[in-house]
């Protein structure tokens, strides 16, 4: 439970930090999806149950909705679905080392964007979102994924250190992340 709370608080702080940095550095498109990295870490950690992880995903998505001005529930749903997909993948793939962490960041950000886009396209009419604008936004999604790729390894290590410092994780530092048997 405490572990889920740490994920949630860290995710909230990172959402605000990324927004502040984007404002200071005048960045608009190349912003990392820190929530996607946290979701990946939670999904691939055996110490996090699927229910708590899903709750964290929904909460982080809800906070992203509030910050990004998206229709409330859109990113909450896409975060939840992405978490379930990542959890499914965590039983079949293992993440170890910097390169795979970066690749996981890239994949999870791309997955999150794809799911969000799919949710918005499906619900475009009831939410009053123009579909042409949604398709136009796909042109800059690769920058989003690239920024997440760059941020994922250090952020992953930071989460590891924080959980170790809070005695919420006792795994050896270089052990692979996966939830399979």
């Amino acid at each position: 439970m405490l572990r889920a709370f740490v994920y949630l608080v860290l995710g909230w702080v990172l959402i605000a930090v990324v927004g502040g940095l984007a404002d200071v550095l005048s960045l608009t498109i190349m912003l990392p999806a820190t929530s996607a990295v946290i979701l990946t870490h939670a999904a691939f950690s055996a110490g996090t149950s699927i229910h708590l992880g899903l709750a964290v995903a929904i909460a982080l998505g809800y906070l992203e909705d509030l910050h990004q001005g998206a229709p409330i529930g859109t990113l909450a749903l896409s975060h939840a679905l992405t978490f379930l997909l990542l959890r499914w993948a965590s039983g079949r793939f293992a993440i170890t080392g910097w390169i795979l962490r970066a690749a996981a960041g890239l994949v999870s950000a791309s997955l999150l964007d794809a799911v969000t886009l799919a949710v918005l396209v499906v619900l475009a009419d009831p939410l009053g979102v123009p579909r042409d604008a949604l398709l136009g936004a796909t042109a800059v999604l690769h920058w989003h994924a690239l920024a997440t790729l760059l941020v994922a390894p250090p952020l992953w290590s930071g989460i590891d250190r924080l959980l170790l410092a809070l005695r919420l994780d006792d795994r050896p530092p270089q052990q692979a992340y996966w939830t399979g048997k």
Partner: protein
């Protein structure tokens, strides 16, 4: 394959959790622009955190501006210094052009006052006395245009006359030179006389005591020497010396500052006639008027 109670419970919990965003979306679809009380409460709770982070980011931005992005300011500064240098250089050139323009305007005004044929000439050199007085100037007109004895004027007054005309330049005998003699008259009393060079910065003339001359009276060319055009300023009386007999000696300061001359005019109207032999090998004939002291 019987599903365990645990699996059913997990599945149900996941479905319930997934129902939360679905309900949120449904609520949003009903009122796309509205915010629920829960949304506002979450924003209010997060506001101090976001304010603190925004403040920290602002400090970080100031750090970047001051220390890291200072290099950019330095580049801008160097560029501006270079531009400033170029603009100063252009300003100097413009000031020089302005001065030149003013001189030329004055020269043209003088051309309207003097009706004789004249040709402009630039000063190309000066000779100075040990006391830094200009005793001789050199102009860029040679024997092709100038003849010894031709009058040389400036917008301020009489400069002198051509002393030597060489191939590319000519020397000008200033009115302060002891060899110089000019026919002049006083502007107020109309007393006529001959102005002779005296010292490096003054001339003298003698007139009858019958004329009530005052200090400060203007001295003009009289034109009787057929060399200088009549009525051109020559100088000003600064001292009156009473001589034995019926004469008085007037000390005159030239109207022209010889050290500030850039452009002069050589009067061609009273030029001597061309040498009938036409070869130009012999000595050049002089202009009419009062000849220099031999």
């Amino acid at each position: 394959m019987a599903l365990s109670l645990r699996s059913i419970r997990n599945g149900a919990l996941i479905v319930v959790l997934l129902g939360i965003p679905v309900l949120l979306l449904r609520s949003t679809a009903q009122d796309p622009h509205g915010m629920s009380g829960f949304d506002r409460a979450v924003r209010r709770i997060g506001a101090p955190l976001e304010a603190a982070i925004s403040y920290s980011m602002g400090m970080l931005g100031a750090f970047f501006e001051r220390w890291v992005l200072q290099a950019r300011l330095q580049d801008t500064n160097e560029r501006l210094v270079g531009e400033n240098r170029e603009l100063r250089q252009r300003l100097r050139e413009l000031v020089h052009l302005q001065e030149e323009n003013q001189q030329l305007r004055r020269a043209l005004q003088m051309r309207e006052k003097v009706h004789e044929d004249m040709i402009p000439a630039e000063r190309v050199g000066v000779d100075q006395s040990p006391f830094f007085r200009v005793v001789n100037i050199r102009i860029d007109r040679g024997r092709e245009y100038a003849r010894p004895g031709m009058a040389v004027l400036s917008p301020d007054g009489v400069v002198g006359r051509i002393d030597k005309a060489l191939d590319d330049y000519s020397d000008v005998l200033l009115i302060t030179d002891p060899r110089s003699k000019i026919a002049v008259e006083l502007a107020r009393t109309k007393a006529q006389g001959i102005l002779e060079g005296y010292t490096e910065d003054s001339c003298t003339m003698e007139v009858s005591k019958d004329y009530d001359v005052e200090e400060g009276e203007l001295v003009l060319t009289s034109g009787v020497d057929e060399l200088f055009p009549k009525g051109h300023p020559v100088g000003q009386v600064v001292e009156i010396e009473q001589l034995v007999g019926d004469q008085q000696r007037l000390h005159v300061v030239p109207a022209v500052r010889f050290d500030r001359i850039d452009v002069v005019w050589v009067v061609l109207a009273n030029a001597p006639r061309p040498d009938p032999r036409g070869e130009g090998e012999g000595p050049l004939s002089q202009a009419r008027g009062l000849g220099p002291v031999k």
